[in-house]
Amino acid sequence: MKEKIEEILKDPSKLPAMSHVVIRVMELLRDPAVSINQLATEISNDPTITASIIKLSNSAYYRASKPIRTVQEALMTLGIQTVKEMILVSASKAVLHKDLKGYSLDAEEVWVHSLIVGLLSSKIVEHKKIDLPKDLAFTSGLLHDIGKVILTQFFPYHILDIRNELKNMTTTFTELEKKYFGYDHQEVGVQVLSAWNFPAELIEVVGHHHNPQNAKKFPLLASVVHIANTIAIISGIGIDIGGINHELSSFALQKTGINDSDLEMYYMQIPDLQKQIQDLRNS
């Protein structure tokens, strides 16, 4: 099983495809001196992404102060970071809006879960005044489960064993994945984002959203996404075959300074967050 998964991970043509334009834009954005013209030119090479940016820029979610007609205007009015967020929402939908039969999730559930974890991660950063860019928290949350898109196809081989183990519930679900597939969805996600040459922060969060205490460089960001993911699952959004079969990391709570009354507030905000992501769902 492990060999079969490695075969996929080693062959870029077998991984979910990411638009070359998105990969190029992410690279350009690593240069703080990148110009709006450069970005606009690159983005306009992808008509789907361009159309999404213009649609999202004029949505209630982003509340542009005036009508946006071009990518250039979006970049100037809403800022580079916001446009980057829109690009990732649009590009991620192509990859994440998929039925994950192995996990017992349909495409809409996967997509809504990803958006909610992204949005709640950025709200947590804002609420706790954590020194991290909000758009980074959003995109890390958005992409955290990307590895499931690959692992889902291997469930049929072990589904009876996995169901039996779930009845007894002696280990976490990521440990079960590791036991039967040789990889858990975090490790697979790391490989996917690395193949796309995505930034190190995103890769580490994807790799440690269930165990943020093991994140070496960005434990704070991983902790934020860990907590947002836990809240989403408890409230049933994107709750998969593994149920609530993971631990809440006390390291993450300490690192972020989040206490019980914060957790309660985040949980109670879920219905509002669901309303807020309406525009992004249909991007």
Partner: protein, 168 residues
Amino acid sequence: MFNKDTKIINVGIAEIQISKTPHILRTTLGSCIGVVLYQPDMKLGAISHFMLAHDPVGRDKQKNPGKYGETALPLLIKMFEEEGAKRGSYSARIFGGASMFKNISSNFLQNIGENNIILVREYLQAQKIPILVEDVGGHDGRTISLFLEDGRILLKKAGIEKYLYRVR
């Protein structure tokens, strides 16, 4: 089996939905509770999907009664009986209330499911509404679909689906 007029109505978190045959009410639950009411002669059904037993602040429940069991349940029953269902002619089924499998660091998250289950049982008993079926607690997510044509429920849990037919 599906009538072309059949609609699947999603019951969102903190919502209450009522409908009649031939439609289907559906909701997905983690620690929240889904309370299903069904009147088999009228083929009338309702689901309340509430998040917490009580409003911790005390001010939010007027604005968002569907969020809290203490306000959602009286509202659910009131709405259901206003549609013509008489007390004694219908019954309840309850689902959800899952909890985290292991958790040392948050009493709040650990206890949501359990507190929700206690409240819904007590409230329905006090209102003399019988609970015919319950599938609550544990660590699994649940998706329930209520088929209003006959009241059967499709319960999906841990990747397994089963029908629950009992309605009286």
